[in-house]
Amino acid sequence: MSSADFLALSPLVLAAGGSIIVLLVSAFAGKRPAPSFAAALVVLALALAAIGLAWSEAPRAVGSLVKIDGFTLFAQALIFATAFLVALASYRYMAPRSGEESGGDSGGEYYFLLLLASLGASILAAATSFVTLFLGLELLSVSLFSLIAFRREKTIGAQAGFMYLILAGASSAFLLFGMALAFMATGSLKTADLAAALVSGTPDILVLASLGLMTVGIGFKLAAVPFHLWTPEVYDAAPTPVTAFIATVSKGAMAVFLVRFFAPSGLASAGAYPWIFAAVAALSMFAGNLLALRERRIKRILAYSSIAHIGYILIAIIAGPGRAAPTVAFYLVAYFAASLGAFAAISALSQGDAEHDGLDSYRGLASRRPGLAAGLALAMLSLAGLPLTAGFMGKFLIFAAGEGAFLWVLAVLLAVNSTISIYYYLRVVSIMYSPAPEAETAAGEAFGEAAGATSGTPRPRSARAFGPAAAVVIVAAVVVIALGIFPGPLIDLIRSLTSGY
C-alpha cells in the first residue's frame, strides 16, 4: 500500500484505530461515561477532518476493494457527521437512569460500538468489491445488534436485538449465496464485473439469480418493502439515538452503495431491474405512509416514515446516470437532518425516567418545552416536504429527476404519498401545539414524581436543562431551514463531487 492509498483511506483508518482507543478509555474510566464520550467525539471529529486529506488523493481506487472518490467522501463525511451528532444526542439519554442497575459499567462501550458501526457504514459506502461490501455490512450489522439490545435490563430491547440478529443473519446468508453465484458466473468479486455481465447481451441464469438473492441483503438494510417488517419493533425498542442511527446512517450507506453499483452502469434502467425497483419503491411509499396513518407511537411513526422515504430515494436511483447520484446525495442530507432533529428531540425529552413515545405524552408540549416542540415540528414539516424546508427541496429534486419515461408515474405516486404523509406528520405537530388538559398534566407530573420517589432518588436535573441533544435539535433545524431557503450552494457542491456518476 502506497502512502497515497493510506491517505485516501485515512478517515477509515482513523475511525478503526480510534474505536480501539475508545474501548480502552472506557475500560479504564471506571463508572464514568464522560471520557469515552469525549474520546468518541474526538475520533469522529478527526475522521471528519481526515476527509480533507483523503480528498487530495481522490479519485483513487485502492486495489479492487474500495474506490475513494468525491461521492464516497461526501457520503463518509455525512456518515461521520451524523455519528457525531448521534453521539451528542446519546450522552444524557444513555447515562444510567435512576432505579436501573448499571451493573457496574460505565456504558462507555456504547461509543465504541457507535464508532464501529460508522466505520462499517463508511466501508459500505466506498465498496467496489463484494468482499468490502460484506465486510462493511457485517461490521455495521454486528455493532447494531449490540446497540439495539444495549439496555440489557429491558426485555423488549433484547427481543428486538434478537429479531434484528436473526433477520440480518438470514438476509446476509442470501447475500453471501448471491455473491458466490456471481463469482461462479463471472470469476470476479468486483461489483463492476457483475454489472457488466448483467448489462451485456443475454445474461447467464446464474448472474440473474445472484442479483435476485443479493436484493435481499440490500433490501433488508434499506428496510424497503417487503424487507421492512422488522422496522417498527426495532425502532421502538432500540435506544432512541440508536434508532436515529439506523434510520439515517445504516440506510444511507446502503443507498449510496446502491447508487454506485447501479447508476454508472446504466443497470438501473435496463431489463427487468427498473421494474423491480419501481415496484419496491411504490410498495415502500404506500406501505410506509399507510402504516403510519393510525400509529400512536412516535418512534413507530418515524419507522414507517423511513420506509416511505426509502421509496422516494429508490425513485431517484432509477433515474439513471447523471441524475441519481446528485439527487440521492441531496435527499440524504435533507432526510438525515430532519430525522436527526426528530430523534434528538425525542431523546432530549426522554432523558430522566420515562421514554417519551406515546403521542399523548406530546400533548401541550409546545407550552412546556417550546424550543424542543418547535424543533420537532420543523423536523416533521421537513419530512412531510413542506416548502421552505430541506425536505421540500429534496422531494422537488426527485420529482424533477423522476420525469421522463415511466418514471413520471412514480413521480405522481410520490406526490400522492406526500399528501397522505402530511396527515400523520401534521398530527404530531397539532398534538404538540394543542393545549394540555389540566388534569392530564397534573397526572403526568404526579406520575413523574411518584416514579422518582419510589426509586429513592430525585429526578435528574438533566430532565429539563439544555443539553447536547437540544444542541443537535438546533443544528438540525438550522440545516433544514438553510437548505430549504438556500439550497443552491449544496446542490452545486454535490454536482461537482458526483460528476463521475
Partner: protein
Amino acid sequence: MVESAIGLVLAPLASFILISFVTRRAAILSAVISIAAAGISFALSLSLLVGVLSAPAGAGLAAGAHASIQWLSIPSIGRFRGLEIAMGVLVDPLSATMSVIVSLVAFLVTIYSLGYMKGDPGFSRYFSYLSLFAFSMLGLVIADNYFQTFVFWELVGLCSYLLIGFWYAKPSASDAARKAFVTNRWADFAFMVGVILLFIFFGTFDFGQLSSAIAGARGSAMLALVAALVFVGPLGKSAQFPFHVWLPDAMEGPTPVSALIHAATMVAAGVYLIARGFALFQSVPGVMETMAYLGGFTALFAASIALVQKDIKRILAYSTLSQLGYMFMALGVGSMSAGMFHLTTHAFFKALLFLGAGSVIHATEEQDIFKMGGLGKKMKITAWTFVIGALALSGIFPLAGFWSKDEILFASLSSGHIGLYVLGIAVAFMTAFYMFRLIFTAFGGTAFGGTASGGEPTEHAHVHESGPAMTIPLIVLAVLSVFAGLIGSPWFQSAFGFSFGSFIFFGRPEASHLDMTTASISTVVALSGIFLAWLVYGKKLLKAERIAAALGPLYRLLDHKFYIDEIYAWVFAKIMLGLGIVFDWIDHYIVDGLFDGLGGATRALGRKLRLTQSGRLQGYALVIFAAVAIAVVFISTDLLGGFLK
C-alpha cells in the same frame, strides 16, 4: 451605492425585529428605535440620490448600480428546465427617487405618530408594524426582478392589512382590513400568474434582461396576455376602478397610516411598478390605452364621489383615488416621467393633508366636516398647512401640484388624447371644489359645531393645536408641497441643466415645458372651483341643500358612491352565494364524499396493513423468503420466455 441600498432596507427590518422581540414593553424606546431606523433609511436614500445625480446627466440606467446574488438555483435535470431566482438591488434614478419619497414620508409619519398614538395600548406594536412596512416598501422599491417585487408586494399588502385592522377590536376596522386584503388578493392572483408566465416565456425575472427580451417579442399574443395579467396587480394595489372599493374603507386605520400607506407610498406602488416594468407595458398598446382610460375614468369617478362625502378622511381617500387615476392616465398616454412626477408631488401634499386631517381628528375626535367649523382660529398651524396642501392639490401656481398636473395634461394633449385632456381639466375643477368645500366648512365659518346645526359649541371648547411632534412634520411637508414641484419646472432646467423629466425617463428624456394654454386653462378652472366652493360653503350665497335637492338623483348616486359597494355586495350575496350553494352541495356530496371515501379507504387500508406487523419473527422471515423467490423468478423472466419484452 449597493451597500447603502441594502442598508436602507435592513435598518427598518432590524427595528421591527428589535421592537417585536426586545423592546415590546418599553413603548417610548420602541418609538425611538423606529424613528431612528426611518431616519437612517432616509439618510441612506439621500446618499443614493446624490450618487445617482452626480453621474453625468442623461446617463439614465447607466448612472445607477445593480448587484444581485443567486438566491435559488436549481439546475436543469433532463428535460426539466432549471430555476434561477436572484435577489438583487437595482439603483437607478427611478428607485433612488422613490426610496427618498418613501423613506422621507415614513420618517415624518413615524415622528408624527409619536404624538398621534400617545397612550395607545398597542403603541409598540404600532411602531413595529410601521418599521415592517418601511422595510417591505423599500425592498419593493430597490428590487431588481419581478419575483422579489412580488414577495415584497405581498409583504406591503400584509402590513396594510395589519395596520388597517390595527384597532382590531373595532368590527369596522377588522372588516375593512379583510376587505382590503381580499380585494388585493384577487388582483395579486392575476399578477402572480402574469409573473409566472413571464418566467415561462422569457426564462428570467430580471427587469434588465426582460426589457431586452421583450423587445424581441413585440406584437405576440402571449406578451399581451402577460402584460394584461401583470397590469392587474397595480390596479389592485393602487385601487383603480374596479378594485377601488377597499381604499375608502381602509380609512379605518390610524390616520398616520392612511397618510403613509394609503396616500403617499403603498398605493403608489402600482404606479411605481408600471414605471419599473414600462418596457413590458409599452410594448402592448392595448394595455397602455386601457391604462390611460381606466385611469382617467377613475380620476373623474372618484372626484365626483368626493364632492358629496362628509367624512374628512373619506374625502381625502377619494381624492387619492382620483389622483392615482391621474398618474395611471399619464403612464397610459406614454409619459412615465409625468406619472412619476405627479407621484412625487402627490406623496408630499397628500401626506400633508392626511396628517392635517389627523391633527384635526386628534383634537376634535370628530370626522364629519359638517360638525366642525372655525378650526382655523384654534389650530393655526394645522389650518395653514392644510390650506397649502389643498392649494398644491388643486394645482395653483407655483405650488407642487401645478407643475405635475400640467405635465400630465400636456402629455395627454400632445399624445392626441383630447378626451382625456378635457376630462383631466374637469377633474381639476372638481378637485379644487371639494378641497375648498372641506376647508370652508371645517376651518372657516364660526365656532366649531355651530355651522350646520347650531349645536353647542362649548362642548368642544377644549380644541387646541396639536403638539410639536405633529406640527413639525406638517410644516416640513408644507414646505415640500410648495417647492417640490420646482424640480420639474423649466426654471430648474435652465438653472441646473436637468429636471425631473430628463432624470427619470424611459426611452427618451423629456424636457420640462410650460404650456401656457394648459397652464392658464387649468389655473382658471381651479380658481373657479375654489370660488364656487367659497360661494356655497364660505359665503353661503348658494344653499348646498338646494343644490343637492335640485340635483336629486345625481346627488344620491354620488352619495352612494355609484352604488359600487352595493353592486359588489349584491353580486357577492346573490350570485356568488347562489353559486356558493351549488358548489357547497357539490362539495358536500360529491367532492367530500369522494375524499371522505378516499380517506376512509386509506385509513381502512392502513388498518389492514397493520395486521402484517404481527411482531412474529417467523412470519417476517417467511415474507422475506417469498420475496426472494418472486424476485429471482421475475429477474429471470428473460430466460424463461420474457413477458416483459
